[in-house]
């Protein structure tokens, strides 16, 4: 993913342990996601000072504070915009964006669509628990019809958004889904997402043990089916991926739905970055260019 990844001597799990321990509820799915990210970075041996974890606001958005990499804990729904600016300014950095379904598909919906179509090179991990947890339990864009919450005590009457179909339709070049309870599978998806040179979307079922009593671990376990277990599944087939994205109910596919590698990442398509990261560029406008700019006006 990062164009100039410098292999370090032995990044270890201990190196990636954050300054503080997560304050998530015991049993929260986000613990599993954090562990998988740390494991993935160790397996890829990416120096932690070259990694930036960027989040919005919410329980899952507290993640950057719990991992020992550079981090930005930004504004509700805005992580992808901040990450786009940061990645374009220094495309040698490995950028991970982490957040929840409310942050990402509600207030962040607009940036979600545009960041995908731009193919910004980053891995976007959404810890999808179909609820707004930090604000104590409101309906989210992925809550099922009929779900009862504090903000819709008589049951949700709005159909949920389908982030997988949305991502495929918006042109995301890597679309995957994981389950926080399946560490090994999730770690593998994270590694693939980081290595993919372009926008990688990874939706992760990450149960909220406090506020979502519908989509629990027990509910997911019999339903999730790994695409990797099907030898006939072709992850380069967009239409097949779209069909899989619509499946819900007794069978819910997880795994790598789709990947294409023929679309340049945004930073690779931008000639201004041909000489290297913007942050290392000369601050001064070349003298002949400056002269030309002024002559144009005379």
């Amino acid at each position: 993913m990062a164009t100039g990844v410098q292999r370090a001597n032995q990044v270890t799990l201990a190196d990636l342990k954050g300054r503080v321990d997560p304050d998530w509820c015991p049993g929260c799915g986000d613990f599993g996601v954090l562990a998988a990210i740390q494991k993935g970075l160790v397996e890829l041996q990416i120096p932690n000072h070259n990694v930036v974890a960027i989040s919005g606001i919410g329980c899952s958005s507290n993640l950057p504070g719990f991992i020992n990499t550079y981090g930005m804990h930004t504004l509700h729904g805005r992580a992808l915009a901040v990450a786009t600016g940061l990645k374009l300014a220094n495309h040698d950095l490995t950028v991970l964006v982490t957040g929840g379904d409310g942050d990402g598909f509600g207030i962040g919906g607009n940036h979600f669509v545009h960041t995908m179509r731009r193919n910004v090179d980053l891995l976007y991990i959404v810890m999808d628990n179909q609820i707004y947890g930090l604000t104590t339990g409101q309906t989210s864009p992925t809550s099922r019809i009929g779900m009862k919450t504090k903000s819709m005590p008589f049951g949700n009457i709005e159909a949920p958004v389908n982030p997988m179909s949305l991502a495929l339709a918006a042109g995301a070049t890597f679309v995957a889904r994981g389950f926080s309870a399946d560490q090994k599978h999730l770690t593998d998806l994270i590694k693939r997402g980081i290595e993919h040179k372009g926008f990688s979307f990874l939706d992760v079922f990450s149960p909220c043990v406090t506020y979502n009593h519908d989509n629990t671990y027990q509910w997911y376990r019999p339903r999730v089916k790994k695409l990797e277990d099907d030898p006939t599944y072709d992850a380069t087939d967009w239409t097949a991926a779209m069909e899989k994205s619509l499946l819900w109910g007794d069978e819910i596919p997880i795994g790598r739905f789709f990947e294409r590698t023929d679309v340049p990442a945004l930073h690779a398509a931008e000639p201004v970055l041909n000489e290297g990261p913007l942050v290392h560029g000369d601050l001064r406008v070349p003298a002949d260019a400056a002269r030309a700019f002024i002559e144009e006006l005379m």
């Binding site: 410098q6 805005r78 915009a81 950095l93 545009h114 942050v279």
Partner: protein, 599 residues
């Protein structure tokens, strides 16, 4: 009074008002004449009414002035609206085939051009424009070669035959004027100076490039879009990443993301777009990552009048992003200052790690001024502040995880904490919009400690004292013991200056206090300057006296009177002169000048 000459060209949008304006502007500036251009137009692509006023002269011309010397109506509508503005000594050049003149005042010369006799209008749709340019230049006492040179450049891309045809048409107009119209007395002299003609938007874009801006993003919004256009066209030569993005919320967040990685990032918008950036600005303040945001004010509220000017966003700036935080806010005084201010802004925001706001307005953004090219300095001082971009020249790649003692939000006496950017080993931290401790950890991760909260607020706010010391207070211009002191902010500098000149000539001594820095305001210094002022009047382009209210809230100062204009059109010198006279005469203490040009 300085010698100036003003041309007003009017027509429907799409009729080609802009091109004659550009041609005149080039000719004047190459003759060493400076100029000030103001375009009154509508939010419409075709039709309606546009009036471009270009005022030129051998000495600095700071505003559109009180008088039109040459009116060139390109359609009947313009003739009907504006002929009555002309006074003795002025002329009106028009296509006599299609336009009927009205009744002109005494001493006004009507100059009918029989366009179809002078050019082949079936082929050349803008012949009337080109004829008028030729005729006008003769009347102004300017030799034809000056026009020929510019026409060659203008039409070069369309081939030699188009060039020749246009030169022929212009010559026909030039010669016709020589035979039939009286030239203006006192032709403008040539000088050896050279001028670059640019809008405030271009000035701010170039100022950004000169300041080392490497990331510019925007969402199109009048009247700020010109900044995006210049940036986009020159990005590759200047080495700047330019992006048009999905909305203004994306703009501010992306700019801050880029800045956080270590580059200078800038964006420009108007009032409605800025409203969407308010939350993002707070992030810049809280995580202490600098960014510069330009607001090109236009008439509000809401969608307002998109093509008209106002100074109505001051309180939005002051109240942006809720909470208390250090920032800088400045209003450029003229188009040359639009260029100069940007590198200054960046040095301040980088040094004090805070947001910086530029309060420009449509008058400057889209107006044009002849500027001395020496004033467009592409080597300004660049001060990045306490920025850490590498670790003692270490190879970096072998250094893992050790954070040593680095605390991104270290409590210091100045309030400034040395800033490491992502990618630097040994300085890992998370920058959070939540209140945080010195090492960046959220205080709510501890126990929302009130002592630490207070300490961090005080650390940030200590930067304010540093900012105040780094910015010069305003100065009074003009006679010390003046009868009247005019106070303005930002773009009204030029027109107030000219009003003071006129007042002084007419025996009313006047001086001027023009405010550039809104934050820091230097209220104490202002009070000191105004302590002995005999009669103070605050001049501004808004309804409620936004600066007057701000000044009072900061200093308790109340002026003797106010002159406020909020019809979307800029002040003309006589508006201020007449208002001063009526206020000194005790008739009122609030004057709202009426705009006589129906645009």
């Amino acid at each position: 009074m300085k010698q100036t000459f003003a041309i007003a060209i009017g027509g429907a949008a799409g009729q080609g008002v802009a091109t004659p304006g550009d041609i005149f502007a080039k000719i004047f500036s190459r003759r060493g004449l400076t100029l000030n251009a103001y375009n009154a137009y509508q939010s419409i692509i075709r039709g309606g009414h546009t009036l471009l006023t270009i005022r030129t002269g051998p000495e600095p011309v700071t505003n559109m002035g009180d008088r039109i010397d040459l009116l060139i109506p390109l359609n009947q509508d313009t003739m009907d609206r504006h002929l009555k503005l002309l006074t003795s000594g002025a002329s009106c050049l028009y296509n006599s085939d299609t336009i009927r003149p009205g009744v002109a005042a005494d001493g006004v010369q009507l100059c009918p051009l029989p366009v179809s006799e002078l050019a082949d209008i079936s082929r050349n749709k803008v012949a009337q424009n080109t004829l008028a340019i030729g005729a006008g230049l003769h009347m102004m006492g300017i030799g034809f070669p000056a026009l020929e040179e510019v026409l060659r450049e203008q039409f070069k891309k369309k081939g030699e035959s188009v060039v020749a045809e246009n030169i022929g048409v212009a010559r026909a107009g030039y010669d016709y004027a020589a035979r039939h119209f009286t030239a203006f007395p006192n032709p403008l002299p040539k000088t050896e100076k050279r001028y670059a003609v640019l809008s405030g938007n271009i000035a701010m874009a170039m100022g950004g490039a000169a300041a080392g801006v490497k990331f510019y993003c925007a969402y199109p919004m009048s009247p700020s879009t010109g900044v995006l256009h210049w940036m986009a066209a020159h990005a590759r030569k200047a080495g700047i990443m330019v992006r048009q993005v999905e909305d203004e919320i994306g703009v501010i967040n992306m700019a801050i993301g880029a800045a956080h990685a270590g580059v200078r990032a800038m964006c420009a918008t108007s009032g409605g777009g800025f409203a969407l950036m308010s939350e993002g600005l707070g992030m810049s303040a809280m995580i202490e990552t600098p960014v510069v945001v330009i607001d090109c004010q236009r008439a509000g509220p809401s969608t307002g009048v998109p093509t008209k000017t106002e100074q109505g966003d001051l309180w939005q700036m002051l109240g942006a992003a809720f909470g208390d935080y250090p920032r800088v806010i400045a209003a450029p005084l003229d188009i040359a200052d639009c260029f100069k201010l940007i590198p200054e802004m960046f040095n301040l925001v980088d040094r004090f790690q805070c947001p910086g706001l530029v309060l420009c307005d449509l008058l400057l953004s889209e107006g044009r001024l002849g500027v001395d090219p020496e004033d467009l300095d592409f080597n300004p001082v660049i001060d990045r502040g306490e920025l850490i971009t590498s670790v003692n020249g270490n190879g970096a790649s072998d250094v893992i995880a050790t954070n040593g003692g680095y605390k991104r939000y270290q409590i210091t006496e100045s309030g400034i904490s040395p800033r490491a950017v992502p990618g630097v080993p040994g300085h890992i931290h998370t920058a959070a919009t939540d209140e945080h401790m010195e090492d960046g950890v959220l205080i709510s991760d501890e126990f929302t400690n009130p002592i630490k909260r207070r300490a961090m607020m005080e650390k940030r706010m200590r930067k304010v004292a540093g900012i105040e010391a780094a910015v010069a207070p305003p100065k009074l211009r003009g006679p010390r013991d003046a009868e009247v002191t005019l106070i303005g902010w930002g773009s009204t500098k030029g027109v107030i200056e000219e009003a003071c000149e006129i007042l002084n000539e007419e025996g009313i001594s006047a001086n001027q206090l023009q405010i550039r820095w809104l934050v820091p305001l230097h209220g104490e210094a202002i009070l000191e300057l105004l302590r002995n002022a005999r009669h103070t009047i605050i001049v501004e382009n808004n309804y409620s006296g936004q600066f007057a209210r701000y000044l009072r809230s900061e200093t308790s100062f109340v002026p003797h009177g106010n002159i406020r204009k909020y019809d979307g059109e800029p002040f003309m010198p006589h508006h201020i002169v007449e208002a001063v006279k009526e206020q000194l005469g005790g008739k009122t203490n609030l004057s709202v000048p009426v705009h006589e040009i129906m645009v």
